[in-house]
Amino acid sequence: MNYPVWDIPFLGNGLIVAIIAIIHILISHLAIGGGAFLFVAELWSNRQSNGGKIREWLHDYATYFLVYTTVFGAVTGVGIWFAIQLANAEATSLLIHQFVFAWATEWVMFLAELTILYLYYYGWRKNSRSIQTFLAGAYFVISWFSLFIINGILTFMLTPGSWSLAKPDIFAGFFNPGFLPSLLIRSLFMFLLGGLFSLIIASRVSEDDFREKIINFSVKWVIPAAIFIPFLLLWYWSTLPENTVTLVKEGIRGIGGGRLEAITRYFWLAITSGVLIVIGTAIVAIRPKVVSIAGMIGLFMIAQFGVMGAEFFREMARKPYVIYDVLYSNSLWKQNSLNTDYMKTPYLEKAAWEPGIEPLSREHGEWLFRLQCASCHTRNGYRSIVSRTENWSGEFGYRWFLTMHESGVMPPFQGDDYDRAALSAYLVSLNGGFITADEILKKVEPEQSPADTLSLGEMSSGEKQP
């Protein structure tokens, strides 16, 4: 509403956020779990007769770890910022203004962990054993604190708890109901990734006995996640909003706009990936000889699919909000949605970013779509509006907009009858149909013509509201 909508064809801004986030989440968790792995492996190597050989291998691990996490992890982390501000500036602004010093503190952790990682890696040949072990430990602890902080902000978006715009209590928002179960799940998941990454590096070792030794050490990192994550998921489930639980349980077969049975599919994708990782790791533990680079990369990629499922689930679980119960996905504030006068005001009077279009024209519908719908839907790509409205008639859309929020996944429509007619006509036209907004109005309300009820000049030149 207050900001322009980045109307990116086919992909849609939401998918761009998702692509970057899915890549980043895997790497960022590895960046912490791998740190724990380095620390424990340092301690382990100190107690082994072939400790020097283990440390040589560990240097190999650290090289790939360093490049992978600093190049792809750090840049995609910044990439999420770039993408979310483009996809939903209003929500990003709220998060930044509320949590700026939490983020700034996380940056301190990031600066520290990165520098320590460099001191650890570049000092490899000369640092004493005790310094190396200390650096690895410090890296892990500090990077875990960065997870602690970002976890508070991420869970706030789905379960803001007692935080409200009227009473923006940062600690209530940060330590929200989802905070602890999410932190524990992420912590166990990162250990798992540290182990899976190690299996990839171990698969490069040619000497059988040594390779088996490393594999046996690595598979243990999956065990805590395999045992505890199912219970933690039940805890996490209990913190989810009622609407989300209902969506997953029943699936949504809303007419046209819903299709959020997808949330259930993504939920199962995450669960199935977890089960496959546990099975795959068990096979590796029993038969270490099966380990190959391709196989272990495959196992790691299953974790990537698991992240994809979990991330899409988390995003869909918030629907129709981007910050639950505070801000809708299309930047409509919940508090404004409760004001009937505000919601019924002709949309063009409120929309700051429409370029002065002709009311009831096709452009009227197009700009309504852009400013109210394009934050979630593309025309014919990701979350295609064309496929969702292919059987619509102009009158159907006109009526459906009034009740679309009842599905639990769509925000309420903003605007008056003319806006509904214009948007419906536009959506029908995207499917190759032809009906004007004027004709829709005549069909649904034959006794009332637009010209009788509205001065078109007033609509186009009305002053915008912030």
């Binding site: 322009p4 483009l86 602004s93 203004h97 940062i170």
Partner: protein
Amino acid sequence: MTDLAGIYLSIISYVNLPPADPLGYPVPAWILLNLSFLTLTWHLLAMNFTIGGAAILLFTLVRKNSDYRGIRHFFGSGLPLGVSYIITLGIPPLLFVQVLYGQLFYSSSILVGSFWIQVIPALIIAYSGFYYHKFKRQERPRWQWQIIVVSLILLLYIGYIYVNNLTLSMLPEKWLPIYSDNPAGGVLHHGEPTVIPRFLLFLSGAFAVAGMALIWRGTFLLRWGYQDEGRRSHSFGFKAFLLTPMIWLIAAGGIYGARPEDVAMMFAASNTTTTLLITGIISGLMAGIFAFVSLNKKKLIYPFVASWGIFGAMASMVIFRDLVRQTVLSPYFKISSIPVNAQWGMFAIFMVSLVIGLVLLIVLSVKVFPRMAEMARERFDGTI
């Protein structure tokens, strides 16, 4: 300032500036501004080191002179770290600009969205290129200079997108026509004549910072007894340094040429702008003089003073830049109009963690650096 504001008042009617965030500022604006000045200066130092270093590395790769072997190794190994700190030190200024000027910054970012998001893949490719060079330059010497060219061009491209976006964020009167023509954010060139000179201005420090890094290197090499390589590093570093004032003059001349009345009014309206310019020039001169004095000497104090000179010049430019932004935006946006809803508890946590974090890093660095230096010396002795 009032006159300049008057010019912009005439165009206010076309501006649709989003309202400020309902939460307001989390601490008084002066704190946010100073944090942003400090961290942006750090970020620019890392950026200038990397871009200047990449240009010097490219020069040494193309020339293939064996005298440049040490310098090639220095930048070849150091550039991935440079990019890493560009990113890390770029986070807080990005954070604070969103708090201070969110409604401007978000709007302009969306208007150039399709370019703005390209920063991410461009940075990944550039960063990977530097790492590839670092790890594979001995093993696969072919195509190395071409890889550095690609990485350097991508970094410059990112810088150009940044300057373009941030310049556009100061010109809200241009937003609506741009958006209505390009709602996918597919437009970058918007006819603003100061974009190219501003871009050059931010790059002008590249050779000074990278040259200064070489002077530091030379000083340590002299202290360790490597006379030839130390002198070579000093000499090359100082020559590179001298490019900075030339680029700076071209950039400053370009800005004046593009908007002579606005520049004159900026100086007429406020003494602060003149003070900042003089401070910047004096700092720059101090840097240049002490960089020159450092040549062929072992004393650390000279490069130390020269480095502070660079920091001072850069910081003056950063503050000057913000003053220009506030002046240009004054008809329709004033920092003082944003309410403050203080979060002192969170601010205290941040400051304490910052102090502890910096102390920890300094202590650890003091412990580890001598060992790294030992490794560097062994490399020079040909033992590794």
